[in-house]
Symmetry: C2
Subunit: 356 residues, 2 copies
Amino acid sequence: MSVKIAVLPGDGIGKEIVDEALKVLEVLNRDFALDATWEEGDIGGVGYDVAGDPYPEATQKLVKACDAVLLGAVGGPKWEPLDKPLRPEAGLLRIREDLGLFANYRPAKVHDQLLNASTLKPEVISGVDILVVRELVSGIYFGQPRGIEELPNGEKRGFNTLEYKTSEIQRIARKAFEAARLRSNKVCSIDKANVLESTEYWREVVTELHAAEYADVELSHMYVDNAAMQLIRNPKQFDVIVTTNMFGDILSDEASMLTGSIGMLPSASIGVDYAMYEPIHGSAPDIAGQNKANPLATILSAAMMLRFSLDRADLAEKVEQAVENALNAGIRTIDLAEGGDFVSCSGMGDAICKEL
Amino acid sequence: MSVKIAVLPGDGIGKEIVDEALKVLEVLNRDFALDATWEEGDIGGVGYDVAGDPYPEATQKLVKACDAVLLGAVGGPKWEPLDKPLRPEAGLLRIREDLGLFANYRPAKVHDQLLNASTLKPEVISGVDILVVRELVSGIYFGQPRGIEELPNGEKRGFNTLEYKTSEIQRIARKAFEAARLRSNKVCSIDKANVLESTEYWREVVTELHAAEYADVELSHMYVDNAAMQLIRNPKQFDVIVTTNMFGDILSDEASMLTGSIGMLPSASIGVDYAMYEPIHGSAPDIAGQNKANPLATILSAAMMLRFSLDRADLAEKVEQAVENALNAGIRTIDLAEGGDFVSCSGMGDAICKEL
Ligand SMILES: CC(C)[C@H](C(=O)O)[C@@H](O)C(=O)O
Ligand SMILES: CC(C)[C@H](C(=O)O)[C@@H](O)C(=O)O
C-alpha cells in the first residue's frame, strides 16, 4: 500500500535533519517494502519568506492530501521582529489547530549509552521512560478572549483565557489511558486543581472517565508545582503523564532535559484524521547549515510515524534498533560526544542506514 | 524599638518548625537586643477547625496589627474533602491578597555541605544561588472571570483568566531589578511571549522599565519551557528570575529541588504595607507531631524577616551564619542525613541557638 508523506523541513537545521530521516525512509523503501513517497512544503520562517505566511495555503493543501506530516523545526532570530501572526511559531500553532492534532506524545526515554550526558546522577535517571501526553489544541494557547487592551485609567492589560471543555479533556485522557495500557499501565494527571477551576474540572473529568472505562489503569493526580519537583527528585516514578497544553509545554521540556540528550527525543501530534511527527528540539539557528546537528530525534520521529500512521510497527522497531546499535557502536554527533570523537549530521544518517 | 510578629503555625509540621524559629528569636531578644514580641493566630486547616474559616477574622486583624507575619505551613488530607473556599490553600491565597503581598522572593541556594543531597551532579549545582521573584497577587491565580459552567450542548467548561496590568508588571519587575543590584546584577524575565499576549505584554513592560530606570542591570528574557530546561542544564547561568504567579509557582519549586534540600529554603512575600515569611516546603502531614521535621527553612525565613521587616540585617546574618556553622559541624535533620546520624527538629533548633 503506497503512503504519502508531507515533509516540512522548516527553518534552521530543519532541512539537514529531515534529509537524514528521508535517507532512512529511502532505505526502508528499497530494502523493506515500505512504499512511501513524499512531497516537500514550506512552514515557519521559510513559509513566510516564500509565501508571506508561516503556514502557506499550498502547505495546508499538501498536508491534508497526505497520510502523515514529518516536520523539522521552525523559528529563528531573523523572523523575531515580525508581527506575532507572521512569526514561525504562529505557523506551528496553526497547523496543529488546522489538523486537529489534539494529542501530543513526547517520550522522554533515557538511553543507557548516554547516561552520562545528563546533569542528573546516573542512578537517578537510568531506566527513566516517561511519556508526556500533552493536550495540544485547546487550553490557554487557544482560549478566547485574549489580547492587549487599554484600560480607562491609561494602563494596559494583557489577558488570556485558559479553558477546557468536557469532551476536550475526555479525548486526551483517553489517549493517555490507552497509551498506558501498552506501557506500565500508570497515568499521572497533572493539574493545579487547588487554584484553577479549569484544572479542577480537568481532574474531575479524568477521574470520572477512569472509573467508567479505565479502572484497570493506575491513576494518580499531582499538582504541577510538585510535578516539576518530582521529575527531578525521582523521575522513575512516572510512566504516562497527561496534562494541559501549557503545563505539558513546560513539563515535557523539563522531562526531556533529564535525559541529557534532547537531540534524541521525537514526538508525535495526533488528531482524528491527521498526524504530525517532529523532533522536540528547536531549529538551532546557531549551528544551521554546518552539518553538525543530531538527526536522531527526527529519525526517531519518523519511526513513530511508521508505527502510528503508516501501520509499519515492524519498521519502526527496525529503525529504533538501528539507533540503539549505532549508539552501542559508539557513534555520536557532537552534542553527545562529551569531548570525544563525533560524526556529522549526515554521517549519523549514514550510520543508521548502514545499521538497517 | 519594639516589634511585633504575627505567628501563624498552620497545619502539619507547622507548629514544630515555627516553635524552633521562635526559640531562635528568644535568644536574639535575650542576647542581641532584639525587642520582639509575638502573638499566635490560626490559618489554614487549623483556622477552619477553630473558626470555620481558613483565614479567620481574628487572624486578619492580628496580621494587620503586626510588623511582620511568620507562617509555618498549611494543608493536609483532612481538609481535602472541603469545598475549595474552605480549604487551607484558600486561606493562604486570601492572606496574600488581603495583605497585598505582590512580591514573593524564593531563594534557591545550594549549601556546599549538602551538595550530595541533590539528584543533580555536584559540579552542576555547586555555587548555584538563584533568587526567584514571583508575582503573587495577580495573574491566573486571581483573574476574573473564572469558574465551571454548563454549556448549551450539555458539556461543561472550566475556565480561568490570566491577566496582567502595566502597574502590576512594573512593581514586580522593579523588585527584581532592585534585588539584582544587591546580588550579581542579572535579571532573567520568564514568559511565554511567543504564545500568550498577557506575557507578551509582560515582556514589553519589563523591557521598557529596564531601559528607563535599570539599564545598569543585565536583563534577558526566556520562554518558560526553555527556562524549565535551562534550570536543569545549567542552573548557574541564573541570578534573579522574575516571572508570573503561575510560572513562578512551577519554576521556584523546580529550582528548589535542584538544591536537594527543600527543607532548607525560606521565602518572603512582600507588599507595600505588610510582609510574610514562610518556608517553601509544605505541611508534611505524614511526619507531623514526630519532632523530625527540618526547622531550618523556617529559621532562615525568620532571618529574612529580620533583614526585610525588622531592620536587623545584623541579626539576619548572625542567624544565617549559625545555620552554616551547624551544617559545618555535621548537624543534620533526617531529611539531610543521607543515612548518617541525625538530630530531631528541636535538636536542630537547639543547635542553632547554641551557635548563636
Ligand atoms: C514554539 C512554541 C509555540 C511551541 C509551544 O509552545 O507549543 C514549542 O515550545 C513546543 O513545545 O512545541
Ligand atoms: C498551596 C498553593 C496554593 C501555593 C501556590 O500555588 O501558590 C503553593 O504551591 C505555593 O507555591 O506557595
